[in-house]
């Protein structure tokens, strides 16, 4: 098949048309996908006990070897005795409104779903250039050295499509991690066990040491520890 002569397409013989098409393609500009609904995460930094069951459930679901972690529970500790504190920040891919990883991908392997805003990598198209890994402000894309490709959290799209919640959420024994429509989570109108009614004023988009959410508008909110607050909650631009 490969050695058979290809029939000549008259359009492709017109060099001017080809040149114009190349210029048009080269100057194409990326336009962010605006989903019908954006799903996001909520995590209660204060009530999380750091058991890492979510991490393990995620690794189990995705068959990950030691090393790459799609979900990461980060322990934050500080203060001086007796005023010491500790809390946990739990992040995976934040399925950003304008993901930095997406425009960097040279193969189109990264895409954002129109119906729920989930950002996924089709790893079968990945060539392992690791640009997405560099671009993500939150460290979500994980390099899989055995295959020389990058992979990341896809919010368990198969579970979502089946009407269930992701493995990490289902594994959380403290019920401090949940998903939902991010606009309702930000407004604190989505019913979730991750946030008690009196904790609405603790809802924030960013916690201390986290990259500026203005970079990509990540779809995540936290119930922040008093020592983890950056400033007053603010609406995305």
């Amino acid at each position: 098949m490969a050695n058979e002569p290809v029939p000549k397409n008259p359009v492709l013989q017109d060099k001017a048309t080809i040149k114009e098409a190349i210029v048009r393609h080269k100057k194409e500009v990326y336009t962010p996908v605006v989903p019908a609904q954006q799903f996001g995460f909520i995590h209660n930094n204060v009530d999380c006990i750091g058991c890492r069951a979510c991490e393990i459930a995620c690794k189990d679901k995705n068959g990950l070897a030691p090393g790459p972690r799609f979900r990461r529970v980060m322990y934050v500790e500080g203060g001086t005795y007796p005023a010491v504190y500790a809390y946990k920040v739990n992040m995976s891919c934040n399925h950003c409104a304008e993901p930095a990883c997406l425009p960097t991908c040279p193969t189109g392997a990264i895409y954002k779903r129109k119906k729920d805003g989930i950002v996924d990598i089709d790893s079968s198209l990945c060539i392992g250039c690791r640009r997405c890994e560099a671009a993500c402000p939150y460290g979500a894309p994980q390099f899989i050295p055995e295959q020389n490709i990058v992979s990341k959290c896809n919010m368990c799209v198969d579970e979502i499509d089946a009407g269930r919640k992701p493995y990490c959420v289902m594994a959380c024994m403290m019920r401090v991690l949940d998903i939902g429509p991010i606009d309702k989570l930000r407004e604190a109108t989505y019913p979730t066990k991750a946030m008690a009614p009196h904790e609405k004023d603790k809802l924030v988009r960013q916690v201390k040491s986290m990259a500026d959410p203005e970079l990509t508008n990540p779809s995540i909110v936290f119930i922040a520890h008093s020592n983890g607050r950056v400033d007053e909650p603010k609406e995305p631009k």
């Binding site: 980060m74 040279p106 193969t107 990945c126």
Partner: protein, 312 residues
């Protein structure tokens, strides 16, 4: 009995001989070691690293090392150590990291340049036929490379920048699994593992057309300005490019040849939805009035990016 006492000088000469031989041996070995050690601060760091006995036993014997000093001097000396010790090597922390050269970093991290992308994805998509959104600029050419190679060894980056490992990497806190998870940590790193995204933002932010008074983003309004940045910026120029990770002269040259060279770092390869708040560098002929968007901005680049000796 007395005959033994007459021979005391033989013992004294033997003692002096041993001392002279020991001193000569010591001085010779010191000179050889000094010739082999790299004349940098990292050399001190490497020397202070303890070599575990198991690994030290596998190292080349001293006689062999002395037999071929020229060969050893030609290759960078690598201190054999284990992963844990290397993780806490002072070179990964301030202030040593500020003086680390690329050669110092590549002694252990050479794989960032040696490891390349796959020739084809698992599904068979060939890398020669792929192009990212920002790679559609005229300045992106050649085969796909990893982002480390694009930032350090690609032909274009060599023309316009002099980036080194420490331009982006400022160390991390190995005490924690993820950098800076201890709120009292002295570094400015974010919860991301290795690099502060604000460093990336300098060249991967949006084109701030509003600040320039343009009617729209460059891909829309560029045609009205003949797609030529220098139409306005031949006169409106800052000294912003005169920092230690950019090649200011090279940027001028490339900018004249093709405006995509300017656009590449000023919106054309945007990863993020915001722009970097560059310092308000005044230029010759700049008016005294500072526009609203530039108020309260610093007037110099970050201290670590200043060219040595360029500022008081």
């Amino acid at each position: 009995m007395n005959s033994g006492k007459d021979k005391w000088w033989i013992g004294a000469i033997a003692l002096i001989g041993v001392v002279v031989w020991a001193l000569t041996s010591y001085l010779t070995s010191s000179t050889n070691n000094a010739a082999l050690a790299p004349p940098t601060d990292s050399g001190k760091i490497a020397a202070s690293t303890t070599v575990p006995p198991k690994i030290a036993a596998t190292a080349a014997p001293a006689n062999e090392a002395q037999a071929a000093p020229a060969q050893q001097a030609a290759t960078p000396s690598v201190t054999v150590t284990d992963y844990g010790r290397a993780h806490y090597d002072p070179i990964h922390f301030k202030p040593a990291i500020d003086k680390a050269t690329d050669a110092d970093c590549l002694k252990c991290h050479q794989e960032v340049l040696d490891t390349n992308t796959r020739d084809a994805s698992p599904a068979g998509l060939k890398k020669v036929s792929t192009l990212a959104w920002y790679q559609t600029l005229d300045t992106y050419d050649g085969e796909q490379m990893t982002f480390h190679q694009r930032h350090l060894t690609a032909p274009f980056i060599k023309k316009v920048a002099t980036m080194s490992c420490t331009t982006c990497h400022q160390g991390n806190n190995p005490r924690d699994e993820v950098s800076n998870t201890a709120a009292d940590s002295p570094t400015d790193l974010t919860m991301r593992k290795m690099v502060d995204p604000n460093t990336c933002l300098m060249c991967h932010g949006q084109f701030p057309y509003q600040n320039m008074g343009l009617p729209g983003p460059w891909h829309e309004s560029g045609a009205a300005f003949q797609n030529n940045c220098l139409l306005c910026h031949a006169a409106i120029r800052t000294t912003r490019h005169k920092v230690n990770f950019l090649n200011a002269a090279g940027i001028e040259q490339e900018g004249v040849a093709n405006s995509d060279s300017c656009y590449g770092c000023h919106g054309g390869r945007a990863w993020y939805r915001t722009s970097f708040p560059y310092p308000r560098h005044a230029w010759a002929g700049a008016g005294a009035t500072v526009p609203d968007w530039a108020k309260d901005r610093p007037t110099e680049s970050d201290l670590r990016f200043l060219i040595e000796g360029s500022k008081p």
